[in-house]
Amino acid sequence: MSAGGDPSAAVRAAVDPSVGVSAGGDLSAAVRAGIEPTVGVSAGDRGEPGAGSLAVSDPPARRAVGAVGPPPARRTLSAVGAPARRTLSVPARSRRSLLAGAAGATALALAGCGSKPLREKIRDGAHVAPGDLGPLNALLDVEHYAIAAYAAAIPLLGPAAARAGKQFLAQELAHAVELSDLVHRAGGRPHKPPASYNLGHPRDQAQALALLQHVEDVQLGAYLERLPDLSGGHVRATLVTIYANEAQHLAVLRMAAGETPTSGALVAG
């Protein structure tokens, strides 16, 4: 992991052509396609937002899955042009329900909660400079990497960790949508995810959690490096809200792995 390097380069460097996971298309589009307008949230009391009542209708799985192409009977996280190919089979139903659930949860996150005022602020007042395109797309690359990793790792997790994984996957999708919006506002085109990523060969929960911790570390390092490059205070503020969320992910993943939730008084990736 390189906290100080070019995040997109870090991701590219991590790609091993022998083993990969099919990213399956534009997941941000899948999220947008899968947003269910009837999803709502009523926030709870101060500092305990989740205590409010949550009302979520099942997201339209067909639409979300359709956006990433018709799934085969069993989607395989398979080798891409590999001489020694290894495959990690994941039941199609898992992946479909993962994406559908993630889309619903993302819609929930985007529809209400604390994000709405921030998003409105960005839309209404913030100027996104063309010079921010590079950093924003680099961070989008890292988010795509995280989305692929969560999608691959969740089937290996036990019920409690899988619940967390699904929640975090939905949040990573929301980050990708937000970054794509910012790229559009800067007059650019958001990067698409590559065809495959090197995610190693996780076989059980411990290895899957180790992969996800690594991914979160990469993300934190990338955000920390890119934050000062951004020209506008509003854009920086938006990205630091994502950074803080990634830090929360890392704390929960550490606990799930039996470690202390924090590794120090500063979160540096």
Partner: protein
């Protein structure tokens, strides 16, 4: 909508105005203490919130309502809060700013500061572990909010990174506390994809 406001609405608005003026007044006092540099003001405000956190952690740890495991965890988080204070003092010193005298100075001042920020929970009477966790979650929200504001104001790359590192740590604290409070329910301990705290 255009009709007369009810008495409840009038009272609510008056309360909000008073709270707003109170917080604004506190901000002015802070500005007088640390000067006009927006970077210094932003960091000094974060320092004030972190010092508040240290006092509130101290108050909760002084009670006998915590289970041993929770006490141990809060002790670790409190130690990190103290490190945050030290880091902010270091950053202010690097900016050549005068480090503001400790504020809030004591428990009473901390309670008053919480009230100014619409946190109406006692830190002198904490009857249950639930109450202890609630007030700590509120304080962590305030520190997150301080860094969220700071990041949009800060210009120096090193300061931006430092604020993000500190905010990330406080966001982790928030999730740990909320996780304890809600038996590890991640839907509540990490509820939103965008963390901006409160002010």
């Amino acid at each position: 909508m255009g009709g007369k406001a009810t008495r409840r609405e009038l009272v609510w608005r008056a309360g909000g105005l008073a709270a707003g003026l109170s917080v604004w007044g506190g901000g002015e006092a802070l500005a007088r203490a640390v000067g006009a540099d927006p970077q210094v003001r932003a960091l000094a405000y974060a320092l004030q919130m972190e010092r508040l956190g240290v006092i509130v952690y101290g108050q909760t740890l002084a009670t006998n309502v915590l289970t041993p495991a929770v006490r141990r965890q809060l002790g670790l988080l409190a130690a990190e809060e103290r490190q945050h204070v030290g880091r902010l003092e270091q950053l202010l010193a690097q900016l050549g700013a005068r480090i503001p005298s400790p504020s809030p100075r004591d428990v009473a001042a901390a309670q008053a500061l919480l009230t100014r920020h619409q946190v109406h929970r006692s830190i002198t009477h904490i009857p249950t572990q639930h109450d202890a966790l609630r007030v700590l979650i509120d304080v962590e929200s305030l520190t997150e909010g301080a860094y969220f504001k700071a990041v949009s104001v800060l210009q120096e790359p090193a300061l931006i990174r430092a604020a993000a590192e500190l905010m990330g740590s406080d966001a982790q604290h928030w999730s740990v506390l909320s996780g304890i409070q809600h038996h590890g329910d991640v839907m509540i301990s990490v509820p939103y994809p965008f963390v901006q705290g409160s002010s």
